[in-house]
Symmetry: D3
Subunit: 319 residues, 6 copies
Amino acid sequence: MTNSTFHQPVDAVEVPRFAGHSTFMRLPAVQDATGLDIALVGIPWDGGTTNRAGARHGPREVRNQSSMMRRVHHVTLTEPFSIANIADVGDISVNPIDLLDGLKRIEAGMRAIVEAGAIPLSVGGDHLTTLPVMRAVAAGGPVGMIHFDAHSDTNDTYFGGNPYTHGTPFRRAIEEGLLDPKRTVQIGIRGSIYATDEHDWARAQGIRVIYMEECTRRGIADVMAEARAIAGDGPTYVSFDIDCIDPSMAPGTGTPEIGGFTTREAQALVRELSGVRIVAADVVEVAPPFDVAGMTALAGATILFELLCVIAEGVAARR
Amino acid sequence: MTNSTFHQPVDAVEVPRFAGHSTFMRLPAVQDATGLDIALVGIPWDGGTTNRAGARHGPREVRNQSSMMRRVHHVTLTEPFSIANIADVGDISVNPIDLLDGLKRIEAGMRAIVEAGAIPLSVGGDHLTTLPVMRAVAAGGPVGMIHFDAHSDTNDTYFGGNPYTHGTPFRRAIEEGLLDPKRTVQIGIRGSIYATDEHDWARAQGIRVIYMEECTRRGIADVMAEARAIAGDGPTYVSFDIDCIDPSMAPGTGTPEIGGFTTREAQALVRELSGVRIVAADVVEVAPPFDVAGMTALAGATILFELLCVIAEGVAARR
Amino acid sequence: MTNSTFHQPVDAVEVPRFAGHSTFMRLPAVQDATGLDIALVGIPWDGGTTNRAGARHGPREVRNQSSMMRRVHHVTLTEPFSIANIADVGDISVNPIDLLDGLKRIEAGMRAIVEAGAIPLSVGGDHLTTLPVMRAVAAGGPVGMIHFDAHSDTNDTYFGGNPYTHGTPFRRAIEEGLLDPKRTVQIGIRGSIYATDEHDWARAQGIRVIYMEECTRRGIADVMAEARAIAGDGPTYVSFDIDCIDPSMAPGTGTPEIGGFTTREAQALVRELSGVRIVAADVVEVAPPFDVAGMTALAGATILFELLCVIAEGVAARR
Amino acid sequence: MTNSTFHQPVDAVEVPRFAGHSTFMRLPAVQDATGLDIALVGIPWDGGTTNRAGARHGPREVRNQSSMMRRVHHVTLTEPFSIANIADVGDISVNPIDLLDGLKRIEAGMRAIVEAGAIPLSVGGDHLTTLPVMRAVAAGGPVGMIHFDAHSDTNDTYFGGNPYTHGTPFRRAIEEGLLDPKRTVQIGIRGSIYATDEHDWARAQGIRVIYMEECTRRGIADVMAEARAIAGDGPTYVSFDIDCIDPSMAPGTGTPEIGGFTTREAQALVRELSGVRIVAADVVEVAPPFDVAGMTALAGATILFELLCVIAEGVAARR
Amino acid sequence: MTNSTFHQPVDAVEVPRFAGHSTFMRLPAVQDATGLDIALVGIPWDGGTTNRAGARHGPREVRNQSSMMRRVHHVTLTEPFSIANIADVGDISVNPIDLLDGLKRIEAGMRAIVEAGAIPLSVGGDHLTTLPVMRAVAAGGPVGMIHFDAHSDTNDTYFGGNPYTHGTPFRRAIEEGLLDPKRTVQIGIRGSIYATDEHDWARAQGIRVIYMEECTRRGIADVMAEARAIAGDGPTYVSFDIDCIDPSMAPGTGTPEIGGFTTREAQALVRELSGVRIVAADVVEVAPPFDVAGMTALAGATILFELLCVIAEGVAARR
Amino acid sequence: MTNSTFHQPVDAVEVPRFAGHSTFMRLPAVQDATGLDIALVGIPWDGGTTNRAGARHGPREVRNQSSMMRRVHHVTLTEPFSIANIADVGDISVNPIDLLDGLKRIEAGMRAIVEAGAIPLSVGGDHLTTLPVMRAVAAGGPVGMIHFDAHSDTNDTYFGGNPYTHGTPFRRAIEEGLLDPKRTVQIGIRGSIYATDEHDWARAQGIRVIYMEECTRRGIADVMAEARAIAGDGPTYVSFDIDCIDPSMAPGTGTPEIGGFTTREAQALVRELSGVRIVAADVVEVAPPFDVAGMTALAGATILFELLCVIAEGVAARR
């Protein structure tokens, strides 16, 4: 299955990690997604952020920290760069001051990747970016979703009626027919809420909301078995909000909630995605201005690598 | 039970979290505790600190981070602001350079709250602040205590005879008849000690000292069942020293000890207080000059919210 | 001229600076501007920021650092709180995710202050906030402006046609008839530019653009004499972008340019405003997520105090 | 067994922790190891670091944070300073710019300690420092090793043939006959790898490589029982790379890998060394320039204390 | 004049700066001041601090940063270690929680140094430490003072009557007859003040108060000529409060005031002390918890070296 | 002179500064220097650092901060990208653990650039990198040098005889006939020195050493007129060590010395290079692990832009 023409990362045994231009996984930077199986792409946009902005700086720092990744997954022995053609296609051209234009640009940029036949694995940006990505990815019909997050992000409106914020993407996605709520599961939800019925709308649509406390009680493997069953065999979006991880391990995010997953658990969560038919995935809400010691960006980069391995396995299996 | 005249926090769906004056939980600032069920109060004083000062800055930063709290507890669905009248009564007027005057001022300030009929939920400040709070709270007789901490704080004297430091409050409280050692339990104690018999005095008084290692072995639920049994039905003080949490999750404190509780465990600890007759509670030793990314203050604010929910439930149950 | 009913700040010889609720200059928080000569107001909004957001957090941190201010200016011996009635009227209610709604809310909030008869002294927020403030202040006719900044902020559009960013407010203000370019001077402009003719539009309107290098050569007193002559006797807006100060002294800002004013020079600049008929003033672009050790917020708070003294002198003189 | 002539640390109940010259455990600084049972020694050298240097600053900050240690282990009640003669013998004189000279100097310095009859407990420095220490310690024959690390450090060469880096010490030690691979166990290995066969060489030599995931599955006690069995009764080196701990708890290191041990687990790991015949031990890869809030140095200092207790018990038992 | 038996610092061309135990100027640590011309001594105490504590940590960090100093002053070519016998006598044993005991201990510790015949050059600690130092130094009669500071520190009382704070030492020193106000000059005073007559008491005693603005206008040389004339030939104390330097260059201090001296000016100020008969000197108010990148401690260490050169020159001249 | 085929930077009015891959000045990344007038190149190597390493990370962070640069110099109106063909040729492939191999690799990499006919403008790396650059640049005969630095870097050996460190490059360069000392001037030298004769060797060779104090006294213009006269018309190397700037403005460096140039002065220094025949230039010693808020990298990037403008003017003039 290995193809010697696939893009390869720079080898840190030859060129130290701090040297050279910074790209995702030290892969080549390419102009477009043609010929790629998986396109790593940045979405430096946080126009939907209601509290602390900064996720616009996420792609740059995740790229920097992804220089720590090597070629092989030590547990699964997956070699993503040998079994799939992967590259860094750069950042979507965004508009930081115009929300609706920003959404359009992201959708257009992602549509180009999807139409080129690549699976987009994107790095946000705030969680509203997932909405235009879904508009591109779910053009042919709704997707399911396995969603790791501290927040359900299914609120209705903010600030006197604004429908588009990073707290509302999945309500909009369901309303627009992009997301199949019956094939959607949210994992790690926690933190104080606005109202006792805050998650009722999500549940009424059929979304399965699994609180952090339930994860602690049941364990990762059991929860993920349920998640895989919910997603089923259909096309599935995986959205990983870095704030599902505890803020001591991922402080660089806009809406931290204590009591989250450890990174060890987060890695286990992603590894349990094996076999899911992932059509797109993202890591969002890494906000470097609030980070310390690059630890959030490193966590984001490592989760990105974990997702890459799982997706590449699927690519190879379906080839 | 809901009373529409109760104070309500500013709603972040209308006014963003970074806007407006900073108060505990975004509640109104009121002049005194009259009419309140629970008084949130700051004690910006660290005059008893033997190593790294800074807890004097705790109330301000806990207020700032408490702007992240919302109205409802996501697990218990408790709505503290609907079932109890709660407000921010400001900070006790302290004296940073005179230990004895500091103790007097804190006692006087807390006495006013207690006499107004409100349950004080205070934010320190170092742990010596608990002593004058107890002098106010236990005026009518000794209280029991459920105490979360890395340290027993039952030493005798420091620096050639000083009886009042943040390492001695509970020895003084027992000596003064404020604290009933037989109804006292200390949870999470750990770290190297001065002498093999360091905790013998506490145990001889009847205090139950539960080391971190025992908590790990037995689990939160079991330990807390014992704690509730020890506290019994009597009036109980809950003291939460932020250094019971691991310093990677709460680095902003004066005497960090590795190997502590996770915030997830800390939340579970507090939730297990349900049913305890809490007459006063505190969160102490948040020292912002040593914090990173506000994570200690956020942990403190969230624990404050957890305590608030438990206390409000009790208020409503007893109404 | 002293009026014993004027609002007074908390005295740090009685209550330490770290204690109590945080307001501008430790003044009382009031609900509206009625009866005030000068209204200190926050505008926590950075919706026009094209690069690094964060000025939305400016008012909170400037409030915190303003606790370092005392009652009397040590050089001029001005006692602002004795000669003018001043208070903290809180923050404008903003909308962080909708640029046009944000502009409207700021204008409305500022209009209320102006109509109450108070001079608004606002703390941003990014520099686009000055546009809606001017819409409120210059309702009766265009104002002049003395503008301290590294950037002229008279660009036309960004990102394919957006007319409203923090790089365009003064072009818009001139187009809308709010700002009289012939009575406008920009001081401290520096840094690489987009095009050789970047400042030609401003100059063609009659704006006097004084580069940093000219300030260094001529000295503060000479430059400010010219500035006062340009502003003349008419109503004048003073806008102080914190990035006019060197980024080593004010790192917490979105668009730092090395080679700026020292804080010593900045204080001298503001003191030279004495006698100017200031109808409104602001300190903008303090972005705490990029600050270190609170030094930018402290510089902002001190400049705010300097402006307050100059404005209060004018109030007293005109009374 | 207690000997009143043993060196004793400064008592923090008499002299506050922030006062006085900084030494390991606040012990006396002595010129050489004569008469000591255990010599605490710094090796401020990171000449073998392939990515982020900084471990050269490790000894100074570990000394600073070790001022937080007290005299008695709270679980085992071991009093290391009463049962063994321990002191701080200072830092090895190193050469930061000459790798081979650096290795020679470290070996010579450690040889002096070993020949004086003391067990060296060293603080690095990067992991290449362990090689020259082993050259001194294993002069009489190969040692076994219990090795806590995220990385196996058994690579062959870097950068076109360099045999000496912090990624290669244990391959060199085996080749040089210093380390008995059949008595060697590596615990906590994790993170992406360069090649699927990366650990095959180590396994082929007989090293037991226990991945982090296996530790999670089996638990600390079980893994350490196996480790003790592997080390057996022979002379054993204990090497503790701080990056075995999760980077949220030990960010100050050169090659962080998420998903590591908690400090609570790390303490348990070291306590399970009881009974092992430790002839030398180290704590390496603490890199203060990348640390936050001193938490990595504090973790390193506490692990150093845990190791000290275990080694002192052995000293006392064999006396 | 050179004496080969004088203590010498470790040479960084042989032992790198990051290696070895940390002492002032890398000099030997000695037990007492006997035989020394100049005793470098730490006073880790901030019990008089009214706002942000932290100067207790000053000596440790100034020691660390003083490892950057070399043997010869590049402008004056003074070689302090060749012309005077200098060593680090450690820290005064302090009491962090008892103000009056703290003052007594400092006085006693300093008296020992003075009685041993050494000139004390101390590192605070907050500015109240200067009072007990003066009690030791001025036992034989009042001293003059050249005082660099942002604040006059001649207030009367705080917090309802406390006479001893870091804002009051020089009023107390004058009242106690330790300080001759007619031979006292304060340089760099600035920042908002409590009352228009704040400095009147000082001036009434005869102290010459030179504001920052006057220093800017007249220049360093002219101001210092006046200062030398005021001090005259009598015994003179030099007190250097690090907050006389601008907070962008010395952020790690408790009461920062913008608009201060640059470090370049500060060095020039100290060099102009040549010829003054200095009987004791200090560098105070370095508060590491508020520092960034060690820059305040480095500034403090360099000023300490500058003072050391000037004092050593005097020692040699009078030998 | 403008050539429409020249490489152009990404325009921040179209693509925000935080978006896209990070290159010097947002220029295209090219594989080699063929066809370029000026090659921007990184040398991520600090193998010669005797104290605090970290300059290996310099190129990456200078690239990041150079995204703040625009197209035109605001004072000279130079448009470097219109008058010269400029691109980012990436980083030299280095060896972080082998000093001599590192020097060879740098020389080889730079030789390729020089032989392609481009003027190298490099970003270090520590100052030892200048030696191999000179070996490449001065192949045809010695160059003159205008050198901005706190240190002369003309020491002989370190650590018992090592000839190659970042304190020795210019002694080696003179010995190797690469540098003409009579055409060499060092500007801004300051800080304590190892010996009174430390700079005598340099002066004996004919180097003109201008201390910081002389710069302050004479002013930038006068000093630079002398510098230009010393360099004359011959080929000249410009070396800008970031530590010539004050550590409050450039804290991210290995050997900070207080009392340095302001960035305003530094910009003036570089602008005065106009007319000098620059054959190569560098910005060295930016060490991001010690930086705060990216301010050192921003200063480095801006100085890089200033140098680029001066060099491009020369290129255009000589075309």
